[in-house]
């Protein structure tokens, strides 16, 4: 896994050219941008508050169906909350979840992976064995167990998902750092008297960046998906938080007579996860054509 994204002139331009060849990736990027704008401007775009209950309007269908009103474009839920508003605020939550989880597991995984690669010996074995043990558990099951220990809440769900994805980053960083360590430029920097810290973060890490960036963008989508699954099982965000998975759990009792309560939050999850996956795939192909599948 060679990493060659040194900031030579025109690197960004070449990256974009490679990336924009992939139509799916461009669509993914566009959807991501829309989501980010919507999430940031939620207070402005959302037609209502996500937790305001309109007591005259329980389970109002979407506006185009009989009985729907233009006041609630996508209808209301069982306590009269506007679904569109909840989805918009949910987008904000989902992006925050994805970002926090990726930042948490990426930074911890990077440090652990670098330590394993640099220290070698027993430290290396200990770290990597621990990662192997984490990988033995089906990821959702491990996340469930962690939440069972910490107690169900959105922040605990995020911690759980971050722990579950930790091994991916650690393994990736260790593998690319090890392959960089044998290169001449590292030996040169070392013999010039650079400290281990400097070698780790300043010399080696930037050259491991390409696969990490790809993993992070794909990790974003799996974080959103896993957090939504935990929310759905009642182990993530708690009502009335407008988290998409939690909204689906709340819809369980009504979905047979109110399809919209169930359909829209799921579509939101699917579209968001899909966008990040398409973007990540495109990024991988553009950054490292050898990985192209």
């Amino acid at each position: 896994m060679s990493a060659t994204t040194a900031p030579v002139p025109g690197a960004a331009e070449r990256l974009w050219r490679g990336f924009s060849e992939n139509r799916g990736a461009v669509v993914g990027l566009a959807v991501m941008l829309v989501l980010i704008v919507v999430a940031v401007l939620a207070d402005v775009v959302a037609p209502h508050s996500p937790i305001e209950q309109f007591r005259q309007n329980f389970l109002t269908p979407p506006s185009w169906q009989d009985g729907g009103t233009s006041q609630f474009l996508l209808g209301t839920d069982d306590v009269g909350r506007d679904i569109l508003a909840r989805l918009i605020y949910g987008a904000r939550l989902s992006l925050v979840i994805g970002l926090s989880v990726v930042v948490l597991s990426l930074s911890l995984g990077t440090v652990l992976g670098l330590i394993a690669a640099f220290a070698g010996g027993t430290v290396d074995v200990a770290i990597m064995r621990f990662m192997d043990i984490l990988l033995v558990f089906p990821s959702l099951l491990l996340a469930i167990v962690i939440v069972a220990i910490l107690g169900p809440s959105l922040s605990n769900a995020m911690i759980a998902v971050a722990v579950v994805t930790l091994p991916n980053y650690t393994r990736l960083v260790r593998a690319s750092a090890l392959s960089e360590l044998s290169r001449d430029y590292v030996t040169a920097t070392r013999s010039a008297g650079a400290s281990t810290m400097r070698l780790m973060f300043d010399t080696v890490l930037p050259n491991c960046a390409a696969p990490l960036i790809v993993q992070a963008s794909l990790g974003f989508s799996s974080a959103i998906l896993d957090a939504a699954a935990l929310g759905f099982l009642g182990l993530g965000a708690q009502p009335p938080t407008p988290e998409w998975g939690t909204m689906l759990a709340g819809a369980l009792q009504y979905y047979q007579r109110a399809w919209w309560v169930l359909t829209f939050p799921g579509v939101a999850i699917l579209v968001t996860v899909l966008a990040f996956n398409l973007f990540g795939d495109g990024l991988r192909d553009a950054l490292d054509p050898k990985l192209k599948r």
């Binding site: 799916g24 043990i133 959702l140 107690g151 939504a228 759905f232 998975g245 699917l270």
Partner: protein, 334 residues
């Protein structure tokens, strides 16, 4: 080969000890004293609590407790459910066939549909079929399956009334539980209605659980086939005048299958994780449903023992895949 086998099996031991350590810690990290929790609202006198804690060994140092736990696990004693007072092992083995039945059907569905689709996409590279399939495949891999399952119920069970909403078989059928696999048991019961009922209950959960493996297998088959189809020996085979089908199926597919088989082996974890969600949605009486219920009932011995058993299972299957792979490909044995 023997040394390779020995080394791989030996590597399992520390992993297993680590897994038991994690599941041991689980019950000690959960807030609340297990004895006090058992008595709940009624409360318990401090002297009696101390006595019971002593009897259960909870007043000993943690490492001693861990060694004792390790000894218990080694003899197959995984504790008792706080709710049903049944041993965790018995409950697990009673429910596990339902999970296996569902998972096996799901993976068969994923292979039977995914493999041919991947091959066709590779052969017709760049056509609308190829693009369409790859689009569907990335969508399938992004699917929140808990929502997908509910949508299937909404369409096929509620709106169309084709399939039942939940369970494994309709109430009016009684099938002697012989193997625990309902499909097999119903088959031997000579009651066509029972077989049909079991099948109709199985179909939606199978599709839902098989969706992500299906997407992965189709994608992997396509890319692996594309690589093989570019090889020289394929051109030779074509030049010899062999029919297109023969070249693709006999020459190319056989070699393209190696990475696909690995991917299928790696789906075990995905399947068991997905089974938790699928079983919850369809009230499928399997291990996943049981684990989620154990959390809701705060039945921590069940959660602990069940998690340990599932992790051990994944570990053993991974070992099996590893060994098979080493058997098929001598270069891996080192």
């Amino acid at each position: 080969m023997f040394r390779f086998l020995l080394r791989r099996v030996a590597l399992i031991v520390p992993t297993f000890v680590g897994v038991t350590l994690l599941s041991f810690l689980l019950i000690h990290l959960v807030p609340g004293d297990p004895i006090e929790v058992r008595f709940g609202e009624r409360g318990i006198a401090p002297e009696r609590l101390a006595m019971l804690r002593h009897e259960a060994g909870l007043d000993r140092p943690l490492w001693q407790q861990f060694l004792a736990y390790e000894g218990q696990v080694a003899t197959g004693d995984l504790g008792k459910s706080v709710v049903t007072h049944e041993s965790v092992w018995t409950e697990f083995t009673t429910l596990f066939p339902a999970t296996i039945e569902l998972s096996v059907c799901a993976i068969i569905f994923a292979i039977v549909v995914g493999l041919p689709l991947g091959v066709i996409a590779a052969v017709r590279r760049g056509t609308a079929f190829d693009y369409g399939l790859m689009g569907l495949s990335v969508t399938g891999a992004s699917m929140p399956i808990f929502w997908w399952g509910l949508m299937m119920i909404l369409v096929f069970s509620v709106a169309l009334g084709w399939t039942p909403v939940s369970g494994r078989i309709a109430d009016q059928f009684y099938v002697v539980p012989w193997s625990g696999f309902l499909l097999i048991d119903a088959w031997f019961s000579d009651d066509d209605g029972a077989v049909r009922s079991a099948l109709s209950h199985l179909i939606l959960p199978t599709i839902v659980l098989g969706t992500i493996p299906l997407a992965t297998i189709a994608r992997m088959t396509r890319s692996s086939m594309l690589e093989v189809l570019g090889e020289d020996y394929i051109r030779t085979a074509r030049a010899k005048g062999l029919s297109g089908v023969r070249v693709v199926v006999v020459h190319a597919l056989r070699n393209a299958l190696i990475p696909v088989v690995t991917v299928i082996g790696l789906q075990v974890g995905t399947l068991l994780g997905g089974a938790i969600l699928t079983e919850t949605i369809f009230s499928w009486p399997g291990v996943g449903h049981w684990l989620i219920e154990s959390i809701q009932r705060r039945d921590y011995p069940v959660l602990q023992g069940g998690t340990l058993l599932v992790a051990t299972l994944v570990m053993l299957v991974n070992l099996g895949v590893d060994l098979t792979y080493g058997f098929l490909n001598p270069r891996i044995r080192r």
